[in-house]
Symmetry: C2
Subunit: 206 residues, 2 copies
């Protein structure tokens, strides 16, 4: 196995590189929860993880690089894409997953940190764009299955439907600055389901 197959920082799973990664990203996550993004420092991450600041800088370059790596590591696995057999069930399960994920203050601080990083650093913006492109594509399978089952009109834009489900959560957290709650889970599910059935997300070129 050639090391060229592994991008830096992801090589040798289970080895020292992986342990360092786990320790550092875990420390970032816990620091976000304890102190919030405003007080996040490289020094704090180094102290908490027991990894030298120089090592952290060498691998992740900046705080922006760190929070982006954390996002990639945590979110995809934490909010699985459901397969309940019906579109409404899938949408509700995914909405509950998003709601539960962002009940944790560390996850709220993480997404806030990543959006902040993207505002300052084009590399962080690219990580965020790729992350959401990928998430929308992967979760879009729920919608494509619903089209195949005849639950949704042909030509429905799968990523638009998934985005419509997620958007109210980020709007609530980042703009309205209020907690997400069960009422939001229910209204996002009901609204996205009803609108998708009515053809609101059929592509205009379809």
């Amino acid at each position: 196995m050639s090391t060229a197959q592994h991008p830096p920082g992801r090589a040798r799973p289970g080895g020292r590189t992986a342990r360092t990664r786990t320790a550092v990203l875990g420390a970032v996550f816990d620091e976000l929860g304890d102190k919030g993004f405003a007080a996040l420092t490289m020094e704090g991450v180094a102290q908490r993880s027991g990894v030298h600041q120089a090592t952290i800088y060498r691998r992740w370059r900046s705080m922006e690089g760190l929070v982006c790596a954390l996002l990639t590591e945590r979110s995809a696995a934490a909010i699985p894409v459901p397969d309940t057999g019906t579109l409404c069930g899938d949408l509700r399960t995914l909405a509950r997953g998003i709601g539960a994920f962002y009940e944790d203050a560390r996850n709220r601080a993480m997404i806030e940190a990543v959006v902040s990083a993207a505002a300052r650093d084009p590399r962080a913006e690219e990580v965020l764009r790729e992350f959401f492109d990928d998430r929308l594509d992967v979760a879009g399978v729920m919608v494509r299955r619903a089209v195949d089952r005849g639950e949704l009109p042909p030509g429905t834009d799968a990523e638009a439907v998934v985005g419509a489900l997620g958007a109210p959560f980020y709007y609530r957290m980042l703009l309205v600055r209020r907690p997400v709650d069960l009422e939001l889970v229910e209204s996002a599910t009901h609204a996205t389901y009803t609108a998708a059935k009515a053809g609101a997300y059929v592509r205009s070129d379809a």
Copy 2:
């Protein structure tokens, strides 16, 4: 008229205070458009506005304070609340207004700067929260009129409907990192209208 009636920085409209405010916030806005948030500095704002850095620090305290003042000054007037006679017309007009507002790179950079500021500074977070509380309340009149006309079910949460219309735009800009477009204007309008009619935003305690 006592000066105690006027909070600092808002006193004597048309006077020197107001002129300084206009020059400084105009300079912040133009700097955001030319250079983006990452390159925004107090020095750049001072040079562009012709106002001393010390004066800017004294009045607005920080970059966070500046971008929040800019948000409050610009957005509310720039996206008026429509009254077309129908809910669908009102939603479409408001969605077009949001879309047109964020076609301007300076406005995109402004909202990004404010969200970033809120992540770092509790005072900026409070400004953002108050701003959106106020906007949702003011624009909610469209929804309350629709309920009165019998277009929407009684108990519909006006702020939830307005938030549902706006959420996809902020999600697109801040998370997905793609431009807003006419397709988004149409899908947000259609989806919000259909879902509101179907009762997706009726308060659970109604």
